[in-house]
Amino acid sequence: MAHLDSSFSTDELAVCAVASKIKDGDLSFVGVGSTGRAFTLAVGIPLAATRLAQLTHAPGASVYWGNLLEPDLSTAPKDICQDTLTRWRAAASLADTGIKCDMLTRRAFDVCFDSAAQIDQFGNLNITALGDYRKPNVRLVGCLAQTEHFAFVPFPIVMIDLDKRVFVKEVDFATSVGHMRKGRTRAEMNLSAGGPQVVVTDKAIFDFDPASHRMRLRSLHPGVTLDDVLSKMSFEPVITENVGVTPIPTEEQLHLIRSVIDPHQVLLRKA
């Protein structure tokens, strides 16, 4: 563990990319996650990134994870079973989740993290149903608070691996509203500022073009080609001249992630 390898995983790259978006004092909404890969994307990377930000440029950053407000991220978790969460030390565990919902709707969060089964070119997300909503091909989980995330949080970060069936032209069901839906802008739908700001994938990072409201390629991960990316999307993102390469983690960042933040590989599971 002490001996660092200068190579890094895609998840470690994502942790550093996400950490760079977190500002000092930011409060981030982190869900309790789901199974396997979805846990890593929705919980593991966000928690590791917040802790990395705390340890580097944003000592005052914090998270609301599950119903733990400012959980102590200095102790690396050994597992994620119920009792570990029950006894996790935190600044607050308010009486019910309704209080957290109020914080969402009164815009008390700065950042949130979202994953989904579908995302479209305008950043609409679907975690509800694939196919016809009333008799779907695949019934998914519902909404959780992801509808609120895009309605009320200024800086939602989407964490999804690139996949042609996931990055679709138009979502079957818009659980969370992006920058345009059925030709209507957020303002026309009575939504204020918000919607997804960054999409972090395993191949590239995107944001959204203010003019067209469409997803825009910002950087390719090291060693990834534009064709790699486009071959995994069912729509073409906006591509400008200044597409960069996603910055690689520094030795210091890798040391912190591997030795301090997640030594038991609970947050970033080995593939």
Binding site: V141, C143, N190
Partner: protein, 295 residues
Amino acid sequence: MKHKVKALREALAPLASGQTLALGGALLRRQPNAAVHEIIRRGITDLTVLGWVATTSLDLLCAAGAVKRYEGAYAGMFNFGLAPNFRRAVEQGAIEVKDFSESTMVARFRAAASGLPFLPTQALMGSDVAVLNPEQIREITCPFTGARLHAVPPASADFTIIHGYVADEFGNVQWPIVRDSDDIDQLIASSAKRLIVTVEKIVPREQIMDTPALTYIPGEWVEAVVEAPYGAHPVSCDAFYNEDAEHLRNYVAGCKTAAGAQSYLEKFVYGLESHAEYCAAIGQNYLSKLRVEGK
């Protein structure tokens, strides 16, 4: 102030097919599974289930064909995947789903708890949640600002079932000081017309009266309280026992088919007479290994 301890069967006797049932619990915590087993044994059908972030309780009812409609913010098996029986029934068109986001489901329970015919929300603007549910999500205008909002109706259930930690025989339910508070059980309880609470343990009234601020569901809201240790199994009751990961994995795998779901129900529900028999079938020794108290 009335003595409210009942047996599970007796407490649930008034529930009838076709009614609306609200379920407490959140993800893998305090799903009222013992009560759900009893409802399934009763052969109840055509329920409208109002949930929050439901897992096993809803999915078991779906396995038994007891549900005709679900309204909630989530239906799944958390880190064990999608809810297999719920999913199959919805995909077959056997269950109608009305999705709500978390804050709007909270608003609906709050409306019921405060006796209001609606509460406003701005969470669903532009979302297909609203577009596809004109029955329950209607546009209104703020009389002060002119802002456009949606109204959502109260989550009004005929019966409500919650699994709690401990209670006295008058139905005053308390939480431990260290617990996982990521739920809306108190709100769901306060919205109930007829509330049945199962608890891990009935404790002496004296213990409750010494710390009234730990009572989160007062007996005044409760119709019947039932002692059902391990009443949330196979999910957890935080501060009492962990989720049973092995059982949940087997459940999700077995329920991939309708036939598999039927054999699960035969083995763990239909084939047993009571919650005590369920605990015996799971094994008291096995269950005790899930306990976390005193850690």
